[in-house]
């Protein structure tokens, strides 16, 4: 217990003293995950809109597929990408393995199903009258689409927060295709795994606290968004 308290004190000190090594890792994590979310959002939004608003053969199968992909373990994504990006793999020429770009690709693949499924559910619940009203009042197709997204904005933000929470906390794909290289591809989760193996618990715990704090912030924001979204629907 005493040792745990000492480690916790040391972890807090590392965080508060703005330890450069620690904050570099946090910076890499946020840079990779934020880029992945920004890249994944537009196609996810488009796919979600298609699934929610356009009737086409195989639509329900596509929805089931998206929902299934949400359950794919991160290590499986890591494994597939590793096989594709390794030197002997079909995309080996690109020399992306063990780079931040590879990690971003992995996180995009992990974020897409979560984003698409949540956005689909949000956009499907938007009242059909919104589209009809906008179109009748002179809005063009894209303007109506933008209004629809704006009407669903709380759900969109909630989807982004949920997907961000998933990818920043994942370790399987990050360690397999990032390689946990110091000053380059070491993220919060891969560093925790490494530091724990080395017996350096303080830095691991400090990074764990950052993730915990992030989870708290994201959950509070999600709660606020859900509340606002609910208010929007019920009023």
């Amino acid at each position: 217990m005493h040792e745990l308290m000492n480690t916790a004190r040391e972890a807090l000190h590392l965080l508060i003293s703005l330890d450069p090594a620690l904050w570099e890792i946090i910076g890499v994590s946020f840079r990779v995950s934020l880029t992945a979310i920004l890249v994944a959002l537009p196609p996810a939004l488009l796919i979600a809109l298609l699934l929610a608003r356009v009737a086409f053969p195989g639509r329900w199968f596509a929805i089931s597929l998206v929902n299934t992909f949400m359950a794919v373990p991160t290590v499986v994504v890591g494994l597939v990408l590793f096989m594709l990006l390794s030197r002997s793999g079909p995309l080996g020429e690109l020399r992306l393995l063990f780079t931040q770009r590879a990690m971003i690709i992995g996180q995009i693949l992990l974020a897409m199903p979560v984003l698409t499924a949540m956005l689909h559910s949000t956009l499907q619940s938007i009242d059909q009258r919104a589209w009809e009203t906008a179109r009748q009042l002179g809005a063009g197709w894209w303007q109506s689409l933008w209004v629809l997204i704006r009407e669903a904005r709380f759900g969109v933000i909630a989807a982004v927060l949920a997907a961000f929470g998933r990818i920043i906390a994942e370790v399987g794909s990050a360690v397999m295709i990032g390689g946990n290289i110091e000053h380059f591809t070491r993220t919060i989760t891969t560093a925790i795994a490494l530091e724990t193996l080395k017996g350096e618990f303080a830095q691991g715990l400090a990074l764990g606290l950052v993730l915990l704090l992030l989870a708290l912030v994201l959950n509070v924001l999600l709660g606020v968004m859900r509340g606002r979204g609910h208010q929007t629907v019920s009023v």
Partner: protein, 220 residues
Amino acid sequence: MLEVSQLAHGFDRQPALWEIPHLPWQGLSLVHLRGDNGSGKTTFLRLLAGLETPRQGSIRWTLGGTSVSPPCPGHVLYLHQQPYLFDTSVAGNLRYVARWNGWRGATARDRVAAMLERCGLAAHAQQRARSLSGGERMRLALARAWLLSPRVLLLDEPTASLDRQAIADVSTLISSLHETGCAVVLSAHQPSVLTERCDEYWCLEQRSLQVSVFKQGVAV
């Protein structure tokens, strides 16, 4: 002017709700559309607005000398029984319309302000649209439509579930809109001040549309 011919519509594989061989309408009058529950009043109005495609037959609107099939955005507008208000302020709802129709700056501001004033909503301009009462919501929906000076308004039970005062306010607004040259077709179950002012009655019954035209209270 409206020209409906050989119109029939129904849902899925059900038999047609009604068949309307011919309906010419000058598109000037205030029309009361009647019919029992399930007679297809809403469907008929939505077909006229182009929000649904008829199973059979054709609907043509002649606007400014050109004959077109619906939808005719900005010209022939259908208002839902519970109008959809965008999740923004009262003025914001009107600003959307201004933006979509290319009005900018002072022009947009002046038109929006004038319409809010005309519809008695100026005091609520910054209020969230969805926090308005039923009558105010309908007035905002009418204001939004009026901003476009439409040729025809198709109103689906505009005074249903409103209290007496709200019915009076909405009726006055619809009458004023009609007086500006906008033809109105409104469906309503209950007779009201508004339906008494109508000079044409369309009744959906026995799978057909019966038309009665009145001039100064006398059937012609």
